[in-house]
């Protein structure tokens, strides 16, 4: 089980800020494939990975990052702070 968080327009497209996901995915990319297979709203949210960023356990990382031991994965658009 892993907590999956969504922020900004990713959250709006998927329609929820957070969910617990039962998964055996070894990498972020595999988790994304599982989510896309669920429903259209996931497929749409993850249709353009170039416009997405991912954090595993609150550290920015890449889509090929491993999920072994991870408790929290977050998906969001590029940041616009400051």
């Amino acid at each position: 089980m892993i907590d999956v968080l969504y922020f900004a327009w990713v959250r709006e497209r998927i329609g929820l800020p957070k969910e617990r996901v039962e998964t055996e995915a070894a990498t972020v990319a595999e988790l994304i494939e599982e989510l896309k297979a669920r429903e259209d709203r996931y497929a749409m949210a993850f249709s353009d990975l170039a416009s997405l960023r991912v954090a595993v356990d609150q550290d920015l990382t890449d889509f090929d990052a491993p999920l072994a031991g991870a408790r929290e994965v977050a998906f969001f658009p590029p940041m616009t702070g400051g």
């Binding site: 968080l5 900004a8 954090a55 658009p77 590029p78 940041m79 616009t80 702070g81 400051g82």
Partner: protein, 147 residues
Amino acid sequence: MGVRVQQEAFDAGAELNAFSSDVDGAGAVVTFNGVVRNDGGDMAGMEIEHYPGMTERALGQIRDEAMSRWSLEGALVIHRYGPLKPGDTIMMVATAARHRADAFAAAEFLMDYLKSRAPFWKKEARATGEEWVSSKQEDEDALDRWS
């Protein structure tokens, strides 16, 4: 001194004075204040979303990196989230150093990194509707000068 993430407004002038009196030995204090602009004249307001937990962690790492890269007496980052109106102060960075070059460079570094590497997202409310602010390539490019 450090990192603060908060919804409440803060008094930039009071923060500057408190920061300055904390940094003994500094000859140079630089601040940056980010303010909500009323671009186009039709901006009703802005909502800033963030990632609680990761935000503090990311800002802390960026601040630590600045402290290790330059000879600083102190560095402060304050960033708000939640609803904001045109003219409101969004965030503030303050750096203190013996010499001005360090204080300026560290403040610019903090700004460049928190723009693109701290988990904040801005949504603008305009007469034409609400819209998430797009990230700018120039902000991403700005990071190159520090690598």
